[in-house]
Amino acid sequence: MLAGIDYFVVIAYIVGMLLLGLYFKKFVSSSDDYFLAGKSLPFWAIGMSIVVSDIGALDFVGVSGQAYRYGISVGNFDWIGSVPAMLLAAFIFIPYFWRGGMYTIPEYLGRRYNPTVRTIASATWIIFFALDLGVLFWSSAVLLNILLGWSIWTSILITAGVVGLYTYFGGITAVIMTDVVQMIIMFVGGFALVYLSMDAVGGWENMVEKITNMGPEYRSHFHIIQPSDTTSPFPWTGILFGLTFVMANAYMIGNQAIVQRCLTAKNEWHAKASMIFASGLKMLIPIVVLFPGLMAVVVHPGLLDGDQALPMMIKTILPPGLVGLMFAAFFAGLMSSVDSLLNSTATLFTKDIYEPYIKKGADDKHYLKVGQVTTLTLLVIGVATAPISSDFPGIYVAIQTFMSFFQGPLFAILLLGIFWKRTTPYGGLSALVIGIASAILLNVFKANFFTIEDPFLYISWWSFLVGFIVNVVVSLMTKPHTAEHLKGLVFDSKIITSSKNK
C-alpha cells in the first residue's frame, strides 16, 4: 500500500485527468466534434494517443513477465510487429479513410463490400470492446484496492466516474488530449525505473554477462530472432508470417480505436504523420516495458511467476514519490484503454448500427446525443460486468484469443478490398465467416496441428490465408461492383501520382 507522497501523486493524477478532460467539453457541439474532434488535431497529439492506447497496464506487467521468461524476443511485438504496419497504414490506408470522410473501419467495409460485412465487423468489435471494458474496470479496481486501500466497488465507481465524465462530455478530443499527458507520465515513470534498475544491475554489459551465464535456458535471452523450432511462442517464422504480415497490419489498419484517432487529424499530412510519429515512439516502448523484466532476472532470479518481475522491481528499486509516479503510469495505461474503448464503441454503435438501422436521416444533434448516451450505457455495462473477471480469471486471455480469430480474416478482406477491384461482396462476406471459423477450428484442435506452446501467431497467419483464398475464389465466381461504385474505395496509383499535379 502507498503512503505519503506516493498517495498524493496518485490522487493528484486522478483529479488532474478529470479536470483536463472536462476542459475539452467546450469544443464539442456536433457529432463530428464528438467522434472526430472536428478533424482539427495535430499529429503529435494523435501519435502519442495511439501509443498510449496500445499499451495498457496489463501489458506493462505481461510484457515484463514475458521478457523475464523469454528475453528480448518479446520486443518483436513493438518493433517489427508495429513499424512496417504503421508505415503501410500511413502511406496507403489512412489517406483513403481520411479523404473518404469515414468514421469507422466497418463503414469502409460496408461501402467496399456490402452492409452485412459492415454489420458483422462492427458488431464483433462492439462485443469485444464491451467485454474488455468490464475486465479493465476490474483490473483498475484491484490496483487501487492494493495501492490506496479503497474497496473494489469504490475503486470501480471512481474509475468509471472519472473516465466516464470526461469521455461523455469531451468525446474523442478529451480522450486524445488526456492520452498525451498519460503518455508523458508513462514514459517518465518507465524510464525512471529503467535508469535506476540499470544502476542496480551494474550496467548493460554486466547484465548481459550475468544472464547468459545463468544456464542454457537463458542463452537466447538476447537473441531477438528465435529459431523456428523454439518451444517459446516467438519462433521467427511466427514473427514474420503471423505477426509482421498479418496481426500487426490487422491491428494498425483494422482496429477502430487506432484508426479513428488518425481520422481526427486536421489535414492529410497530419493524418499520415501521426502514424509515422507513433511508430517512432513505439520503438521506445520495449525499453519501458521489456527492460525491467530483463533486469529482474538479475535482481530477482528464480521467480516462479514472471508477471511478478515488474511489481518486484518497483518495490525494490524506486524511491518514494517515483513509486507513486509509476503507479500513476499504470493507472494512465488503464484509463487510456478505457476511454478509447468507450469512445470507439460509441462511434461504432452510432455510425454502423444506429444510423443505418434504427434512425436514418436525423439531425446531427440527435446523433451527438446517441453517442453520449451510448458512452453512458457502456459505462454501466462495464461496471456491471466487471465482477465477471473475479469469477473467471482467464477472461482477459479469452477475449484476446477471441479477437485473434478475427484479425487474420479481417485483414484479408481489407487488403483485397483496397488492392483488388475484382473482390465482390460475397467474396468478402464468405472470407470473413469461413476465415473466422477456420481460426476457431485451428485453436480448438491446436494440440493436433501445432508443436509450439501458444500458436496464436501461426493461427492468425493460416486464418488470414484461408480468408484470402476464399475471398479470391468466391469473388471470381460472383458479380463485382461497377467501376463507378468503387471510385475512391480501391487503390489507384493516381492517389499518389496525382499529387504531382497540385
Binding site: F91, Q226, P227, S228, L240, E268, I276, L442
Partner: protein, 71 residues
C-alpha cells in the same frame, strides 16, 4: 506444414538477414513515393526537409534496422 517445418533448414543468422532485407525493401519502397505525396496537406511555401514524411520513415526504419542488426 502448419508449423513451418519446411523452413527449419534456415539458420537463425539467415533468418536475421531476411528481416534486415525486409527493412531495406520497405525503405526502398518508401523512397519511391513521390515527394509531393509525402507533403500532401502542407502548403507549398511551408514544405521543408523536416516535414518530408519519407525522411521520418527512413529515420524510423534505420533505428529498426540497427536494433535487429545488434540483437
Amino acid at each position: 506444414m502448419l508449423n513451418f517445418d519446411w523452413l527449419s533448414g534456415i539458420s537463425q543468422e539467415m533468418a536475421k538477414n531476411i528481416f534486415l532485407a525486409l527493412f531495406v525493401l520497405i525503405a526502398v519502397l518508401v523512397l519511391m513515393i513521390p515527394n509531393e505525396y509525402a507533403y500532401e496537406g502542407v502548403e507549398k511555401e511551408d514544405r521543408h526537409w523536416w516535414n518530408n514524411l519519407k525522411i521520418w520513415s527512413i529515420f524510423v526504419l534505420s533505428i529498426l534496422f540497427f536494433i535487429y542488426y545488434i540483437f
